[in-house]
Symmetry: C2
Subunit: 199 residues, 2 copies
Amino acid sequence: MDALSLPKQDRSRATRQRLLEAAIACLAEHGWAGSTVSVVAERAGVSRGAAQHHFRTREDLFTAAVEYVAEQRSAAVRGLLPQVQLIIGPARTYLAVGQLVDLFTGPLFRAALQLWVAAAHDDALRARVTELEARVGREVHRMALELLGADERRAGVRETVQGFLDMCRGLGLATLLTDDSARRDRVIRHWTGVLSDLL
Amino acid sequence: MDALSLPKQDRSRATRQRLLEAAIACLAEHGWAGSTVSVVAERAGVSRGAAQHHFRTREDLFTAAVEYVAEQRSAAVRGLLPQVQLIIGPARTYLAVGQLVDLFTGPLFRAALQLWVAAAHDDALRARVTELEARVGREVHRMALELLGADERRAGVRETVQGFLDMCRGLGLATLLTDDSARRDRVIRHWTGVLSDLL
């Protein structure tokens, strides 16, 4: 069944999804200044009018896109949880750390970073992005606790996990301009041992 | 002695310095898209022609500005070394960590971040920023080793310091849109203990 033979509601949902995915790719590649509703509509193969029917403003489109992709990534990681929970000890930590670092080195992080940095000097964007980042940040923190099998009621565990997620964010930033994967792998291998001892 | 009564060479150096400082403030406040040579010249109280006499291109001006301020910060931290080196144990680590985190939470980091993120989708900027970041990154790593009194010949020390600097970078990013200082202080206090045990 192709897109045109779908019921109207499904077609509309498919269009929305295409716009959101095009918005992420566009942000990651061209940054906020180069990302307009028109550019995204063209990339998604949708008319500008149809794009504006789905998203009234540029801010609506791009914050919705980051949220949508973050939810997709989050659902994918949650899907792995039942298998991860069967593993214990350093192997579990290693697997969990790999999943968490991946969250900060892909197109979603690149796109979110562009939005985040643009929001530092764009008031219309700032309030939206701040609220979005707080929500996504809480979800990533919860996910990290579950993946690592960490118990936040124990003293220091909260700060251990938070600091580790800050490290992941820094590793994501370091990979923005050059392929940092060789250094990153060494850092991750080392810190997985540290984290395993701490938790 | 005011600026006009300085010898010509000193006046030229003072103008250059004003342009570099104005460039950092401009980048931190308005991002790359809003930072042109004209905007910086106006902010510095210098004519556009004079600005272009000092910096042929926009890329020249802004990469020189990040390098200049990074060198200033680096010199200031190095100036503290003789005092820091008198202290040993966790108090030394705490002092060192505070200095290092400060490097990633001030206007210099905000400005460098704007340049860095713009370079992801600007080829003219990319090569320049990549080379600059490698140089600044090596200097910060050397400084971290000296501040922490860490011996890189010991296995794991290199990766401990690198991962910690990635954490600092992530903490800097987290403070871009909101005042993250309360959370940051808790994370830093906790990880200072971890780092002190590791080194």
